[in-house]
Symmetry: C2
């Protein structure tokens, strides 16, 4: 296997990149200036050393705790629960929400063998006991797994004084939070509704 085949094989493991796309990318990189492939190689080789998980919220960060968790201007009475670290970025880009975050690291999915213990729900409960959170906003994808996880967390908290809300369904059902546009996402924050107990 030559160097191009090797790169094609590696690129085709990325999500949404098939063999033809991987070939196109590999040849593009080969024809681009050498400085581009060097920069990309450098970025990839230092990535895992530069980025760790925040010990408070569980999101990816270069400093621990992360800049969001240590920002005194943010509203510590609001805690937004998301599936993955990239959802924090998407919500930050929408510039509607100014509270704190908690990254679950996944969703409950019995068919994939993912239960509550595989997520950071224990850490979430510990934060809720210690922090001065008044409202928990569940910002999970509007899918079966997302709804299951939201209901599970709501159930755990039903005997507390905490207000538990979830994002309004401005998001298309069955869609992916990552691809929502800024305005739809902002509206779903504003229109968030209490979960019925």
């Amino acid at each position: 296997m030559d160097a191009i085949d090797n790169l094609v094989t590696l690129l085709s493991r990325l999500p949404g990149i098939g063999k033809k796309s991987a070939q196109r990318l590999a040849y593009h990189i080969l024809e681009a200036p050498r400085s581009y492939s060097s920069a990309l190689a450098g970025s990839l080789s230092t990535l895992h050393d530069s980025i760790k998980r925040c010990s408070v919220c569980g999101g990816f960060t270069e400093t621990d705790p992360c800049p969001i968790c240590t920002d005194p201007s943010r509203d510590a009475s609001l805690l937004c629960v998301v599936e993955r670290s990239q959802d924090v970025r998407v919500i930050e880009d929408a510039r509607e929400y100014r509270g704190m975050f908690h990254v679950l690291g996944g969703l409950i999915a019995p068919l994939d063998g993912i239960g509550p213990d595989d997520l950071t729900i224990g850490a979430l409960l510990a934060r809720l006991r210690n922090d001065r959170v008044r409202e928990l906003i569940l910002a999970l994808n509007p899918t079966v797994e997302g709804d299951t996880t939201s209901l599970y967390i709501q159930n755990l908290l039903k005997d507390t004084a905490l207000s538990v809300t979830r994002l309004a369904s401005g998001l298309p059902v069955g869609g992916d939070l990552e691809y929502a546009d800024r305005l739809t996402l902002a509206r779903s924050f504003r229109g968030r509704v209490p979960m019925h107990r």
Copy 2:
């Protein structure tokens, strides 16, 4: 700019990868085992050292001349002209053609400022004078630029005894050779037609 932003910026320079896709890829790489990003970084950093252009055909290769140009079992009386090195791979995968190749390095595109002198047409004419080529097969994309370039080369050779053919239009007009399926491409080789003078 943090390490993730840096990677996102680099990835979004790739063809067909927008900002959202680049973010998705970056987080996928971050969540994948560290061995994957190391392998990808290694592959990228050695790519330009491993791969050079063949001094005969102009295609990308690890050895110079390339394995195709030095393969004695191939028919040296057939020479297939392609735009880019990846087209050689596509045609090889179709397993219909067993002659030699010549990579032009582009197509004539006056609007982009690309003229005949920017391509390897001089080297092609030199090969035709020295080699025992009987048939020149023009395998360029069926686009305006591809047709222009085919006609230009045909014109240069109209006073020679060389047979000049082009691939049959089994390929959809306006399409891209890179995305043709194996059977369509094989049929277009078999049905290649002489260019009228």
